[in-house]
Symmetry: C2
Subunit: 512 residues, 2 copies
C-alpha cells in the first residue's frame, strides 16, 4: 500500500506568516550589515539604522530597525509554528501525494483512470519537488477547465488586439497629452534637446516596455490556468508567446506589407492580380533578413556579453545590496529563459521555412542565426544559467510540433506561389503537407507518449539507492509548512530534495 | 505474474482446413437430409444424391455425395489436427493475451505505456471472446497506421465521388448500352411491357443496389483498418456511413437545391443576394419532411413487419434448406444492425436540428420519427434481434459526438439565417456554438474515459466467481484452432465463453 501525504491548504495564513517572517529576516540582516558598515574609524560606535513604522516607512514613529525586527521575528516565529501545526492537522485539501515502494506500480497508477467520472479522482505523475506550483495542486477539475478556456480566450484577445492598448499608451505618452495630464512635465519639456528625444522615443518606449512585460504577463496567465509544474508552465507560456510572435510579427509584417498594399492596386487594375502578388510578396523578405541579422548581431552580442545584467548588478551592488546574501542574489544569473528563447527561435524557423522559396537569401541568415546560436546559446544554457529543475526533455515535443507546423505553412505557401507563377507541375507538391501531417501524427503516437508518462519498462527494475520515505516527505512539504529549524539547515534539506528527483514517486491528486 | 497466451498465426493453413471441413460437414448433413426426404412411400429406398467433382459441380466424374463427403471429412480431420498442433507449437506471432489473477492490475496494465517507443509494445484491454476480429490481432503498429490513413483517404474519395460510379453504372445499364454489350438481351427487349419497365427502373436499380452494398463495403474497409473488436468495427462503419449520409443526402440535397440554383439567379441580379437566399433555403425543407415521413411510414413498417426477411426465409425454405440447422439459420434474425441504423438516425437528428429554425414543420415529423422509433426499433432490438456480444455501451459517446456536431451545425446555420434576415441581436447567438464545443470537450474528458478504459475503482474488489484459467484459455482460442471434439461439445464451450466476459482479463498485444 502506498503512503499518502495529504496536501494541506497552502495559500492560507501560514503562507502569509512565512512570507512576512522571511522578509523580516532579510530586513534584519540588511540592517545589521548597514550598521556594520557604518562603523568607520572616526565613528567606531556606528549609526544604528532606524525606520518609521507607518505606511511604506514614510510616516509613523521612528524605531530602531534591528531591535524592532528581532522582536517581531521572535513574535512571528511562535505564531508561525502554531499556525503550521494547525494547518497540517486541520486544513487538509482533497489532494495528496502518494509514495509507492515500487516504481512500476507508481507509473501504472499515475497513468490509469481511477474513478468512473474523471473529475472525482484524477492521478498524474508528481512533478519534481523544485518545480511544483503549490497553489495550483488542489484545484478541482472543472474550475481548472473553465479557467483554462477563459485564459485561452483572454490570450486570443491579447494576440489579436495587442496593437490597441499599445497605440493607446503611445498616444497617451505623446508629449502633448502628457503635458495636459501631468502639468509639471512642462518645465522639463522646455529644455530643447530633451524635448526632441522624448518626442521621438516615448511612443517606442511604450511599445518596448509592453513587449518586455508580455512574457511575464503570459507566465502569470498560464499560472492562473492551474498548471501544477513549473516546466509545464514554461511550455504553456512559450506556446502562447509563439502564437503572439507568429500573428503579430510574421503574419503582421507579411500581410500588412503585401496583401493590404496589393489590394489597393488590385481594385484599380483587377486584371493584374497575379503579377501584383508576384511583385509584392518577396519585398517583405528583406525586412525579415534584416530582422534575423539584427537578432544575431545585437541579440547574441547582448546575450554573450551579458551587458544589461552586468550594469544592473553594479547598480544594485552600489545602492541596494549590503549583505553577502544580497550580493549573491544580485549576481545569480537565474535559470535559462526557455519561455522567451524557444518562441523567438521558433519564429525564425517559421520565417526561414516560409520565405525559403520566395527569397532564398533568408536561408544563409537563418543558418548563421542557428549556427551562432548552437555555440552561443548552448554555452550560456550549459555554463552560465543555473537550471532549477530538469523537465526530462519535455520541451522537445513542444518544439517539434511547432517546427512541423512551420513546415506545413511553408509547403502551403510554396504551393500557392508555384500556382501563382503558373508552374504546371505544382500539383505534385500537394502530397507534401499531408505527408508532413502524417509524420507529425506518427511521431506523436510513437515517441512522445514516453515524454508525457513514464513507460513501465523503464521502471521495472528497482533502483540501487531508493530514497528514504522521510526524505521524500520532507521534499514534498511546501516551504511555508517546513519547520523553521529544518529550513535553516539548508544543506541537509537540499540533499533530500535532490534524492527525491529520480522519478521514484508518483502523485495522486483528487479534488472532489 | 500473469499467464501469457501467445497468439498463433490465424490466417494460415489451419484456418483454410477448418473452413473446408466445416463446409463439408454442412454438405454431408444437407445430402443426408435430401436422401431422407427422397424416401417416399412409392420409393422406400430413396435416391442417393450425387454431384460432379469438377469446377462448381458442373464438370467431372459423378460421385455419391454422402460417401464422398464422409471420406473427405475423415481425411481432413486428421490433417486439421496435425496442422492445429503445428500452428500452436511453431507459428506464434508477436502478440499475446495476458491473464491476470487481479482485475485491478489488469486494468492498470492495459492503460499503461510499456515501451519507450510505443510501437514496440502496445497494450489494450482484450475484447470479449465473441467479438474478437482474429485476423487483425497481430497487425504491427505502423502497417496498421498506414492502412488506416489509406482507408480514410479511400472513404473520403468514395464519399466525394460516389455519384460518378453510380452514374457510370446507370449509363451502362441503360437498355441501349446493354444491347451493345450483351447482344442476347435484344430478344427480351422486343417484349414491349418489359422494355418500358426496364427502361424506367434499371438506372434506379443500380443506385439502390450500390446503396445497399455500401454498408458492407464500409464494414469491409473498416476491417482492413486493423480494428480488433467487432463492436469497434461497427462504430467505425457507422461513423463512415454517417459522413456519407451527411455529405450526399444532407449537404447534397440542400446545396444542389439552393446554392447552385441561387447562384444562377445571383449572376443575373447581383444586388438581390439576400432576398434570393431567403427564398431558396426553406423550400428544401419540404423534401426532408417527405424524406422523414417516408422513413417512418415505409421504413418502420418494413422493420416491424419484417416482410423482406419473411419472404427471403420462405424462398430459402422452399428451395435451399433441407436440414433442421439450415432452416434455423435461415430463420435467425441475426444481430441488430447498429452500423446502418445509427447513422440513419443521426442523419435525421442533423436534418431536424438544422432545419428547425428555417422550417419548424420538420420538427413534428422528427419527433414522430423518434417517438415511433422508441417503440418500434427498441422492441426490435430487445425482442427480435439476437446480439452476439455486449459492447458496454460504447456506441453512446459515438452518438453523442454526432448529436453535438449536428447541434453546432444548426447553431451556425441559425446564426447565418438570422444575419440574412437582418435580425440586429443575432450576434448574441455567437457564444452558443462555442458553449456547445466546450460542453462536448467536458463530456469527453469527464465521462467518456470510462468507456474507453476500465476505471480502477470499478475493479478494485475481486469477483465472487472468478472464471477458471482453463475456461479463459478455451474462450480465447480461435475457432480454427479449437480441437474438433471440443468444438462439437457446444454447450460446454458456450458456458466457458460467457464466463469469460465479465471484464476479468486484459489483453497484451505486442507486434515488434
Amino acid at each position: 500500500m502506498p503512503i499518502i501525504i495529504l496536501l494541506p491548504f497552502i495559500d492560507g495564513q501560514s503562507s502569509k506568516l512565512w512570507t512576512k517572517l522571511d522578509s523580516l529576516k532579510r530586513k534584519l540582516k540588511h540592517a545589521e550589515a548597514v550598521f556594520g558598515q557604518s562603523k568607520t574609524k572616526d565613528k567606531p560606535e556606528g549609526i544604528r539604522p532606524q525606520h518609521k513604522t507607518g505606511f511604506l516607512g514614510l510616516v509613523g514613529a521612528k524605531v530602531d530597525t534591528i531591535d524592532n525586527s528581532k522582536e517581531k521575528i521572535k513574535d512571528l516565529s511562535v505564531k508561525l509554528q502554531a499556525e503550521q501545526k494547525r494547518t497540517i492537522a486541520e486544513e487538509q485539501e482533497a489532494s495528496a501525494f502518494a509514495i509507492f515502494n515500487n516504481r512500476a506500480v507508481a507509473a501504472e497508477v499515475s497513468q490509469s483512470a481511477i474513478a468512473t467520472i474523471a473529475s472525482k479522482w484524477r492521478t498524474s505523475q508528481a512533478p519534481e519537488p523544485e518545480e511544483i506550483v503549490w497553489g495550483n495542486l488542489s484545484m478541482p477539475y472543472l474550475p481548472q477547465l473553465f479557467r483554462k478556456f477563459g485564459i485561452y480566450f483572454l490570450v486570443f484577445l491579447i494576440i489579436i488586439f495587442y496593437m490597441i492598448p499599445i497605440s493607446f499608451v503611445s498616444a497617451l505618452t505623446s508629449l502633448d497629452n502628457l503635458e495636459k495630464l501631468v502639468p509639471f512635465i512642462k518645465s522639463i519639456v522646455k529644455i530643447k534637446v530633451l524635448n526632441t528625444v522624448l518626442q521621438a522615443y516615448l511612443p517606442q518606449l511604450a511599445l518596448i516596455i509592453f513587449l518586455a512585460l508580455l512574457p511575464s504577463l503570459l507566465m502569470f496567465l498560464s499560472k492562473l490556468e492551474g498548471i501544477v509544474s513549473h516546466s509545464h508552465l514554461v511550455r504553456a507560456t512559450a506556446g502562447k508567446y509563439f502564437y503572439f510572435n507568429v500573428v503579430n510579427v510574421f503574419l503582421g509584417v507579411t500581410i500588412s506589407g503585401t496583401v493590404f498594399n496589393a489590394l489597393k492596386k488590385i481594385t484599380k487594375q483587377p486584371g493584374q492580380i497575379v503579377s501584383l502578388l508576384d511583385a509584392s510578396l518577396p519585398p517583405q523578405a528583406s525586412f525579415f533578413i534584416t530582422y534575423i541579422a539584427l537578432l544575431f548581431f545585437v541579440g547574441y552580442g547582448l546575450e554573450l556579453s551579458r551587458l544589461v545584467p552586468l550594469i544592473i548588478f553594479h547598480i544594485k551592488k552600489r545602492f541596494l545590496c549590503k549583505t553577502e546574501e544580497e550580493i549573491r542574489d544580485a549576481w545569480a544569473p537565474g535559470p535559462f529563459n526557455y519561455h522567451t528563447h524557444v518562441p523567438a527561435d521558433m519564429l525564425i524557423v517559421t520565417i526561414a521555412a516560409c520565405y525559403a522559396v520566395l527569397a532564398p537569401m533568408v536561408l544563409p541568415f537563418a543558418i548563421m542565426y542557428f549556427a551562432l546560436g548552437w555555440i552561443i546559446v548552448r554555452n550560456q544554457a550549459l555554463k552560465v544559467y543555473i537550471p532549477k529543475y530538469d523537465s526530462g526533455g519535455r520541451m522537445w515535443p513542444h518544439m517539434q510540433a511547432r517546427i512541423l507546423a512551420a513546415l506545413v505553412i511553408s509547403q502551403i505557401t510554396m504551393l500557392g506561389y508555384f500556382s501563382v507563377k503558373k508552374f504546371v507541375f505544382s500539383f505534385l507538391l500537394f502530397p507534401l503537407p499531408i505527408a508532413t501531417l502524417i509524420f507529425a501524427y506518427v511521431c506523436n503516437k510513437l515517441f512522445y507518449t514516453a515524454f508525457r508518462v513514464t513507460p513501465i519498462s523503464l521502471v521495472s527494475t528497482d533502483l540501487k539507492d531508493m530514497p528514504s520515505v522521510a526524505s521524500l516527505v520532507e521534499a514534498y512539504t511546501p516551504t511555508c509548512l517546513t519547520p523553521e529549524d529544518k529550513f535553516e539547515d539548508a544543506e541537509k534539506f537540499e540533499d533530500a530534495r535532490s534524492t527525491a528527483t529520480s522519478r521514484t514517486s508518483s502523485g495522486i491528486t483528487s479534488p472532489a
